[in-house]
Amino acid sequence: MTIQVKREALPDATVVSISGSVDIYSSPELRGELKVALDGKVRKLVIDMDGVSFVDSSGLATLIEALQKVQAYSGKLLLCNLSAKVLGVFQLANLDRIFQIRETREAALEG
């Protein structure tokens, strides 16, 4: 697989850490991991993308889907630790204006 996903339940948030390539091949696995958190209606979902080396439109679609589900139950979704390369893809699609993006995991957990 081109992706590793780890889910941690903290007292005030659930953190999903991703590493590898988030593309059309790996997105179904990410969607499955996010679904577990979203089905539990976590109030705050932090997606730590520290280890993500590549993201394509399928990866963006998976994250948009998660954001819309969180918003539907008035939860919060934050992204953190995006590399310049990955952030660049969000900017190409104007999604840096839609997602709440923080530089660090700590900032995401606070915000």
Binding site: T2, D23, S57, I64, Q68, K85, N94
Partner: protein, 150 residues
């Protein structure tokens, strides 16, 4: 694709698990062509989107078909051609969604057009679609094109 003197061709199955190795190959070819790091990243993205569209829309997610990729480069451009053996897709039907209509999907074509300088669809000799994408290489001292759209 015209003879540019330098280039490489590769055929892959229409299997999404092959896109990661193709990106690795692009890193090597693009380095050979002298593309700056940011441009290499953009070519990786465009080729991934192009192949993903072929697999999803042309081959209906079948992993038993064939995709041909040709990479060619000269002093002032880097060109990628993606050929499929499905039905020709009318370019006027290939559209991306408006960016302010935020929903999953519909971004692949937008990303390709955004990061490459030329994106053209033509009917190939097998009756399928040939997607040719070209990236102009900046001359030394020439500022890079702002692709953020801001």
């Amino acid at each position: 694709m015209a003879d540019r003197g330098r280039g490489i061709r590769v055929t892959i199955p229409s299997d999404v698990s092959y896109l990661e190795p193709i990106r690795t190959l692009i890193q090597e070819i693009a380095s050979l062509a002298g593309l700056p790091r940011e441009a290499v990243n953009e070519v990786e993205l465009a080729v991934t989107e192009g192949c993903a569209n072929v697999i999803r829309h042309c081959y209906c997610n079948s992993d038993r078909e064939r995709i041909d990729l040709s990479f060619a480069f000269a002093d002032d451009f880097f060109e990628v051609r993606i050929d499929d053996y499905g039905k020709f897709v009318d370019p006027s039907r290939i559209k991306s969604r408006p960016l302010d209509d935020v929903r999953p999907g519909g971004l692949g074509v937008h990303l390709m057009r955004k990061v490459m300088d030329e994106v053209t669809y033509t009917k190939n000799r097998w009756g399928g679609t040939s997607l040719t994408m070209r990236k102009r290489l900046a001359r030394p001292g020439e500022p890079r094109k702002d692709r953020s759209g801001r």
